[in-house]
């Protein structure tokens, strides 16, 4: 305070006082109008830094929420499709079990076959289902249709075109959730445990390991029959015998018997195509028209040929314990022990742990159509082989569903947590930057009061002059 106030200093003082209080009022007005305490960094530099850091964190959370959202919708779509698939498989199991009843007629079997085929198609449609424009079950090859049915010599077969790639969603700092669902893991498996034969021909696994996926058909055929003609009897048609089979023609009883199979009566006139069957189901068709009428007890030996791909045939003599066969189309390699083979036929073999459920259903339908004239026992063998795989496939699907469910619940939890975090961060941010209205209003009225007082005192001060008293 100056001891000697002068005209100009007095005026300046009054002016600056008014200006300062007016500025406080305006600042309060600004805060009330915007609701913000910090309108520019210098309003509260430390606060600005803190608020900025909250805003950056909110942005990060937004990014994670975006990932969670994208993954959730996709996985929930996948989940509902897989539930449908699981339902189909349950139904397929009961149909397959019903179809294995030995008393069924061929027509009934055909009916079941078409049912199973339809289910396979439905299952494949699920496998090919998409979300948006993206296939759900093709791994990271998301625009490639994952499943496709191709015709092979062994019947219809499904081919997977997707990949096994993993894609993940980043849902937190260093927290990633797997969002991939490769069809090769959901509908199939690639964990080979060994090769199983249906048991029709008596072929077994050789000593060396095998390699392949899904099902293969091992074809054994009789190339030639040795031991006939004898007494005017010749082989006239189908022969499915492999190796030595005793052939007894009993002239007295008028029967023909192959091995331990049933004795077949010889009718007159002498038949040109008498079918005799061994106990293992192998067949020998005989022409008796030139029979001399003399009975005999001999041996008919079937010379066998074997093939995995149905095109290249390998002759065998029944002593092979580790014959290597390949299917160039599928790349499968099997080693077979042929010492127990007694009959020809098409044998289903499965590389366990590598089958595709769609393949299994298609294979069942193929078996039931029975276009290879399998006898019921052989059919049953093949069907039960496939049923085991169907059960395993369904288990896998359920495991996938469970896994999917746990991923979904992880995502749900992440969503919840991130949502909470976002609200919390927003709260903290607004705490820093938002104006406390009651405080601002208080400030404002204080500034107003001071301004009024300053105006009043200023006016009084400026009126004071000696001149007022000089007459």
């Amino acid at each position: 305070m100056t001891l000697r106030p002068t005209q100009s200093s007095t005026y300046a003082l009054v002016q600056s006082g008014l200006r300062m209080n007016m500025a406080r009022l305006v600042r309060a007005q600004e805060q009330v109008a915007t609701g913000k305490r910090i309108l520019r960094p210098s309003d509260d530099a430390a606060g600005t830094s803190i608020s900025q850091s909250f805003l950056r964190q909110i942005a990060k959370v937004d990014g994670w929420l975006e990932s969670v959202g994208g993954a959730r919708t996709r996985l929930s779509a996948a989940s509902s499709r897989l539930q449908d698939a699981s339902g189909i498989l349950t139904e397929a199991r009961s149909v397959a079990t019903a179809s294995m009843n030995g008393t069924l007629s061929a027509a009934d079997r055909l009916g079941y076959a078409s049912q199973l085929e339809q289910m396979a198609v439905n299952l494949m449609e699920i496998g090919n289902s998409s979300f948006g424009d993206r296939y759900l079950f093709s791994g990271t090859a998301s625009t490639t249709k994952p499943f496709d049915i191709v015709d092979t010599p062994d019947g219809k077969r499904v081919v997977y075109h997707g990949d096994e790639g993993r894609s993940t969603a980043l849902v937190g700092r260093d927290v990633e959730i797997d969002t991939s669902l490769p069809g090769s893991e959901v509908f199939a498996s690639s964990d080979p445990t060994g090769t199983t034969y249906a048991g029709l021909t008596g072929a077994k696994s050789g000593t060396s390991a095998d390699m392949g996926t899904g099902y293969e058909t091992l074809a054994v055929r009789t190339a030639a029959v040795i031991g006939l003609p004898q007494e005017g009897i010749v082989v006239s048609g189908d022969a499915t015998i492999i190796g030595d089979h005793a052939l007894v023609v009993d002239a007295a009883a008028g029967t023909v018997q192959l091995g331990s199979g049933p004795a077949v009566s010889i009718e007159t006139p002498l038949p040109a195509d008498l079918e005799v069957r061994d106990a293992d189901g192998s067949v020998l068709t005989l022409d008796l028209t030139g029979w001399t009428g003399v009975g005999f007890s001999g041996v008919a030996t079937g010379e066998g040929e074997i093939s995995l791909d149905g095109t290249s045939w390998t002759a065998f003599n029944g002593t092979e314990t580790n014959l290597q066969l390949t299917d160039s189309a599928s790349g499968a390699v099997v080693h077979v022990d042929l010492t127990g083979v007694t009959r020809a036929g098409e044998e289903t073999l499965v590389f366990e742990g590598t089958t595709n459920v769609i393949d299994t259903l298609l294979g069942m339908a193929h078996d039931l159509r029975n276009n290879q004239d399998l006898d019921p026992a052989a059919l049953l063998d093949s069907m039960s082989l496939r049923l085991d795989e169907l059960v395993a496939g369904q288990d896998r699907l359920l495991v996938s569903l469970g896994d999917l469910g746990s991923r979904q619940s992880r995502l749900d939890r992440a969503d919840q947590r991130l949502g909470d975090l976002r609200i919390q961060l927003q709260g903290l941010e607004s705490e820093v930057t938002d104006a406390d209205l009651s405080e601002v209003v208080l400030d404002m009225s204080r500034a107003e009061q001071t301004l009024q007082v300053a105006q009043a005192t200023g006016a009084r001060l400026l009126q004071q002059s000696l001149l007022n008293y000089l007459r």
Partner: protein, 777 residues
């Protein structure tokens, strides 16, 4: 007596009248800026008159008009004003900066967030074109924001500089006025009187000058005042120098006084404040924004360059970096990579290049070793060009360009080579014999290799001339010699160098193929097993699965322990060694192993072996690469290949043009699969991570920048307020001393009015006395 008496009265009246005039002058100048109140100096006039021995005075004498002033206070006001004005000018400019970085919700920080959000969105569906467009667009918004910020900073600098130029004109006008005043004051004061009003005026001019620049003053005995700026005379007694600005070579503004060639440092006054802002503060700010842009380019490109676009690979790629001809010989190819003017540092390391054939899905992986101090641009292009399926060169602008041959595609991802045994050196169909270990091998000139193929035994001789250094012969060099020998092809034998190892193979495939290693010094040096090596019909299919989760690149060498058939031979094992030669795994692949089933290798990887036989006795084996970072050399970033952003500062940062034209080139995939989002996840991780070049994350860096601007404004504000209040208090003191208080003047007025009346009355008394005397006559 009467004459004297009248004179005394008259002097009283006149001096009172003069005093009233001075008071009037004071009162009328009560509001004149810079005016110092004046006082009439009065003194008793002494006249030596002997009148009865006493000395009698001769009335009052007005000796002059004095001005209330304090020279030291005046100088302090001048220097303090310069300081306060400088801070005010800085504050004004900083407010401009602050408004640029106001958190608006659409600022640079928000744009960075937006960019990462769009990347997160794309990561949920990397195939989606709309999201790809979205990410490119948000990146363009980001670069536009960078440009705008850089432009605004530049225009702030320009505005300040223009203002400086304008103010210099004022300085020069004031300096002229100063000289004029100096001359007038000297003239007036030469007569002995004080040029009060002129001095007030000069003090005012000096104050105005001090508001613009910090001036120093020296007052001369003749009353004139020399004003200097930074030691150079601006205004003297008869000469005013001109103050001017010039731009120096690097574009910054410099100030000069008169004809001096050395710039003067001005820190005070408005000009000083503006210059400090332009020269010290803004470059620092610009550098921080540029640094943010540069690191963003570097880090985003690091993540992006090792990604793959839609379609799994590139047909062609051109870098955005033009290589420089540092030694000026007109050729770029001879420059070492470290001298080729790359915007980002290339370090010693390696780059993986994969060439894929979309038709067959076959992948060929190559590891390119990079040493920027030893490798020239030409060497690099040569080794790139040497990779099967791609060709590399420089385009017209000296940018590196890579083209795929035919329908092939290439990429630089950390993809896994699913079929690591590319040459069939591990149970392949060809008869194979391998070297005992990876090269280089120590050979002597004249070393021999005796082989026997389909056409009988033959010998190959190796000469020192065949090798760069025969003591460090590489497998590739040895293979080249063997393959060049016509006897090899005639005998159905070829040599292959793979991962540093040498393999001899039959050219035909199948169980009927065989050749014999008879011996020779090379066979011993390299460790080629002697004896007959036979092929097989079934090749062992080796497949690598999974995604490598390790943090370092790994080179895994697989060799069989013993000879046997996969899945059949009891106890057959495959040994896995890392690059350091340590055994990191033993895989049971004998009896009990199901061919084709996966064996865990750790770090997310597994391997499966198909049916077939393998032979340790033939030194069979293969190497698999597990890639964590496919470009440890940062070569792609350095050359600007497969970049997302280009440019190295806020002004130049751009989204690479090819991406804008075709967002499907956005490299989202980390392994070539279209639905993979590996590269994006890597990019997204950058959002929260502290970045090497910044020490903090991008967002934090920006937050800190904004916070620091706030702090700067607050600090300057409070400093300016402090300095200003100091000026105010100095001015108040000056006003206390020199200002006019009207009331005070009125009191004085009454005093002198009365004194005038008294003097008049005295004259009347003297006159009456005289009349009395006259009446006596």
């Amino acid at each position: 007596m009467s004459g004297i008496g009248l004179n005394i009265g008259l002097s009283g009246m006149l001096s009172s009248q003069k005093a009233l005039e001075v008071l009037g002058h004071n009162m009328s100048n009560a509001n004149t800026p810079g005016y110092s109140r004046q006082r009439l100096s009065l003194g008793a006039s002494q006249m030596l008159l002997q009148a009865g021995g006493g000395v009698l005075g001769n009335g009052v004498l007005a000796s002059g008009v004095e001005r209330a002033s304090d020279g030291i206070l005046g100088r302090r006001i001048v220097s303090q004003t310069a300081v306060a004005k400088a801070l005010q000018a800085s504050l004004g400019s900083l407010r401009g900066v602050e408004s640029l970085f106001n958190p608006t919700g659409h600022d640079l920080g928000d744009q960075i967030d937006e960019f990462f959000l769009s990347a997160a969105s794309l990561s949920t569906d990397p195939v989606d074109q709309v999201r790809r467009n979205g990410m490119v667009q948000s990146a363009q918004h980001l670069t536009a924001q960078f440009h705008q910020t850089a432009d605004s900073v530049a225009s702030l600098a320009r505005d300040s500089e223009n203002r400086v130029d304008f103010l210099l004109g004022e300085v020069n006008a004031l300096a002229q006025e100063m000289v004029g005043l100096n001359q007038e004051i000297a003239q007036v004061e030469a007569g002995g009187s004080s040029a009060n009003d002129l001095r007030d005026r000069r003090e005012l001019v000096l104050g105005q000058l001090a508001e613009l620049v910090d001036v120093q003053t020296v007052e001369h005995s003749n009353g004139s005042l020399s004003v200097t700026v930074g030691g150079h005379l601006l205004a003297g007694h008869d000469l005013a120098a001109t103050m001017r600005s010039e731009r120096n070579d690097d574009g910054t503004l410099e100030l000069f006084v008169g004809n001096t060639t050395k710039p003067v440092g001005v820190t005070g006054g408005e000009i000083g404040g503006l210059m400090t802002f332009v020269q010290d503060y803004l470059p620092g700010l610009q550098a921080r924004v540029d640094d943010l842009a540069k690191n963003l380019v570097l880090e985003i490109n690091r993540a992006h360059s090792t990604g793959a676009p839609l379609g799994g690979g590139f047909e062609r790629l051109t870098g955005w970096v033009s290589l420089e001809d540092a030694d000026g010989d007109g050729a770029v190819l001879d420059e070492k990579l470290s001298d080729a003017g790359l915007p980002f540092e290339v370090t010693a390391g390696s780059l993986f290049v994969h060439v894929t054939d979309p038709e067959t899905g076959a992948v060929e992986s190559h590891e390119l070793l990079v040493d920027p101090d030893a490798m020239s641009v030409g060497d690099l292009l040569e080794s790139l060009d040497g990779i099967d399926g791609i060709s590399a060169g420089l385009d017209f602008f000296n940018r590196v360009q890579i083209l795929a041959d035919g329908d092939k595609r290439f990429d630089f991802t950390a993809r896994l080579d699913a079929n690591p045994d590319g040459v069939g050196s591990f149970g392949g169909q060809r008869a194979t014999a391998g070297s005992a270990a990876a090269g280089p091998f120590t050979l002597t000139s004249g070393a021999t290799l005796d082989l026997s193929g389909t056409s009988g035994p033959f010998q190959i001789t190796f000469d020192a001339a065949d090798f760069a250094d025969i003591n460090e012969a590489t497998a590739a060099e040895i293979a080249a010699v063997i393959n060049a020998d016509p006897a090899s092809s005639a005998g159905g034998i070829r040599a292959v160098a793979e991962d540093g190892r040498l393999y001899l193979q039959s050219t035909g495939q199948g169980a009927s193929e065989s050749f014999e290693v008879l011996g020779g010094s090379l066979a011993t040096a390299v460790g080629l097993p002697t004896g007959i090596h036979t092929g097989q019909d079934l090749a062992v299919a080796v497949e690598l699965h999974g995604e490598y989760s390790g943090s370092k690149n790994q080179e895994l060498t697989f060799t069989p322990l013993g000879d046997g058939t996969i899945g059949t031979t009891p106890g057959l094992q495959v040994e896995v060694r890392n690059a350091q030669g340590q055994v990191v795994g033993l895989l049971d692949v004998g009896e009990g192993y199901q061919p084709g089933s996966a064996l865990e290798l750790g770090d997310g990887l597994s391997i499966s072996f198909g049916v077939g036989t393998v032979a340790a006795s033939s030194n069979q084996g293969f190497v698999a690469h597990a890639i964590a970072d496919s470009d440890t050399a940062d070569l792609l970033v350095g050359l600007g290949l497969n970049s997302f952003f280009q440019g190295t500062d806020a002004e130049a940062i751009e989204v690479v043009g090819a991406l804008v034209d075709d967002p499907s080139l956005l490299a989202a995939s980390g392994n070539g699969a279209e639905g993979d989002n590996g590269a994006l996840l890597e990019l997204l991780a950058l959002q929260g991570e502290a970045v090497e070049g910044l020490g903090v994350s991008f967002g934090e860096s920006y937050s800190n920048l904004v916070g620091d601007i706030g702090f700067e404004v607050v600090a300057t504000e409070s400093a300016a307020a402090t300095e200003e209040s100091l000026v105010d208090s100095l001015k108040a003191r000056r006003s206390e001393l020199a200002g006019v208080n009207v009331d005070e003047e009125l009191v004085e007025m009454i005093r002198f009015e009365q004194a005038f009346a008294a003097s008049a009355r005295f004259i009347q008394v003297v006159q009456e006395l005289q009349d009395t005397v006259l009446r006596l006559i």
